[in-house]
């Protein structure tokens, strides 16, 4: 394992070094020490490497990730795993607002809680949250799965397209055009796989599925008030 001390080496060297692994893998396991809430740690990675961050982070951790596994051993600030394409981002603590925003692939696991706008405009990413999530989660979510082992806040799935939402606890309110759905065997299977991969101790049968009512796909003047 190679170690990078953020305080000594600085953010630019850290990201250049990790991004260079896409050309040639020097080591498949890295650790970042002294993160101290810094922004934009381990962004733009594109190699099958493991990166452990030993502490809490600030804005935009592991943004645009491809292939890499990034493990934050603390909590993450706003915009963690934004626009992830593939790979895995694991947060031991909580995540701040818009975790996994616009993500197109890969798996984001948040062991604690996620705050507002988790999975906003998700486009294929899978997000598993061990705790609860805040308001406006998965706003305009297009595809992918958002799994919440705790509760969801206001306006879950507002204006969503084909993203699926699985919530074990309560939902404070559903957003426009989001509705409760039937849990069919194929959904239980997807959910089981995601829970297993995320290492969450929860039974798929305990969850409720939500998704788009598909009434707002095309403009209809009768729905003008809902837009």
């Amino acid at each position: 394992m190679k170690s990078i001390d953020l305080e000594a080496q600085g953010l630019r060297e850290l990201n250049i070094t990790l991004q260079a692994q896409s050309e040639k893998i020097e080591d498949d396991s890295w650790e970042i020490i002294n993160p101290k809430g810094s922004h934009a740690l381990a962004v733009g990675l594109n190699a099958p490497i493991e990166v452990a961050i030993n502490g809490s982070t600030g804005y935009y951790t592991a943004g645009m990730n491809q292939q890499a596994t990034v493990h934050v051993k603390g909590s993450a600030g706003p915009g963690v795993a934004e626009n992830m394409m593939s790979g895995k981002v694991l947060i031991d603590g909580d995540a701040s607002q818009y975790a996994g925003a616009t993500g197109q692939g890969g798996l984001l696991v948040i062991k604690g809680n996620a705050s507002s706008r988790c999975g906003i405009s998700m486009k294929g990413i899978n997000i598993v949250v061990g705790g609860s999530i805040g308001h406006m989660a998965a706003f305009m979510g297009q595809s992918g799965n958002l799994v919440v082992c705790g509760d969801a806040g206001d306006a879950l799935g507002d204006s969503c397209y084909e993203a699926r939402f699985f919530v074990r606890g309560s939902v404070k309110s559903l957003g426009a055009d989001c509705e409760k759905k039937e849990m069919r065997p194929e959904h239980l299977e997807i959910l089981k796989e995601l829970l297993d991969e995320a290492g969450m101790d929860a039974k798929p049968e305990e969850f409720t599925r939500y998704g788009s009512a598909r009434n707002l796909y095309n403009f209809d003047v009768d729905n003008a008030g809902a837009y």
Partner: protein, 299 residues
């Protein structure tokens, strides 16, 4: 974008270190607000005295002989400690209102930053590191303090546009965000006799909270009603003589992190501001919920 930091000391042995801890937190938030900075420090010495913290752009001239002039005008002892562009005038608490009135008559170019038994507010244009150094923040002690680094959006970069704003005795408020109904609310508050000095949106928020408290609300109730009265984005941190409160608007897009240990409660716009606090590794760290009032009190 602006940066907010706040520290509420629970363990009295940390009081002498309040300034140095707040100083570190404030400077860390420089890139959220490099144009001006300010801070309120609450330090009640237990005496029957009250303090007026004043500011002048022409301090050398305006402060010369001011203590004597004020003493003559009010018929009471006045002491003055000049700190850069600011000065702290100490008078008997019963004479605070008289002293403030007399001060305005002596020289209307002098701005009152704060008035109260415990509060002192210092704020200026410039990088937070320079502002903090000019006023010697790292040497200050106190029971709680609030700091702000400003990136101006709603009004000019001036001393009076910097935070904290104080619109009531021993009260202050700092703000990250922008209020969109501040003009109509300012007119309404002025009609009700509230003094609002600047065109800044935050001062209106502070004046609203102070006015509610004058009408009999507790700080918690005043903050609760601000959620309905104010339109816009805000994370507010407020201070009173004994307390420290936090509230975020229902959308909550302005960041906020809190930490609590047996020794303190801390607020930061970002976790970065909290990383050097003692025992932060084992602190309870959380993001305050939207539209929820948090409040801590010394008594």
């Amino acid at each position: 974008m602006c940066g907010i930091v706040g520290l509420f000391i629970k363990d009295p042995s940390l009081k002498p270190k309040l300034g140095s801890m707040l100083n570190d937190m404030l400077i860390t938030m420089t890139d959220r607000g490099p144009d001006s900075a300010g801070f309120a420090v609450y330090n009640d010495d237990g005496s029957s005295n009250a303090k007026l913290t004043i500011q002048s752009d022409n301090a050398a001239e305006d402060f010369a002989g001011l203590d004597k002039a004020l003493s003559d005008a009010t018929g009471t002892a006045v002491s003055m400690k000049v700190v850069d562009t600011h000065a702290v005038l100490t008078v008997d608490a019963s004479k605070l209102a008289d002293a403030r009135k007399a001060l305005n008559e002596i020289n209307e170019n002098i701005h009152v930053m704060s008035a109260g038994e415990s509060i002192e507010i210092y704020k200026e244009v410039g990088l937070p590191v320079d502002v903090a150094e000019r006023f010697g923040l790292d040497q200050m002690s106190g029971s709680h303090g609030i700091g702000h680094t400003r990136m101006a959006t709603e009004s000019k970069v001036t001393t009076n546009g910097a935070h904290p704003f104080s619109t009531g005795v021993d009260q202050c408020l700092v703000h990250n965000g922008s209020l969109s109904n501040h003009n109509s609310l300012r007119r309404k508050l002025r009609r009700e006799g509230v003094t609002i000095e600047s065109e800044n949106d935050t001062e209106v928020g502070a004046a609203y909270v102070s006015h509610q408290m004058e009408l009999g609300s507790t700080l918690g109730e005043a903050l609760e009603s601000s959620l309905d009265a104010l339109d816009g984005f805000f994370t507010f941190v407020v201070g009173t003589k004994d307390g420290f409160g936090v509230v975020r608007d229902p959308i909550a897009c302005k960041p906020a992190v809190m930490a609590e240990t047996d020794q303190y409660v801390a607020f930061g716009s970002e976790y970065r501001a909290l990383v050097n606090l003692p025992g932060i590794e084992d602190a309870k760290v959380w993001e305050p919920e939207p539209a929820t009032v948090y409040f801590w009190n010394h008594k």
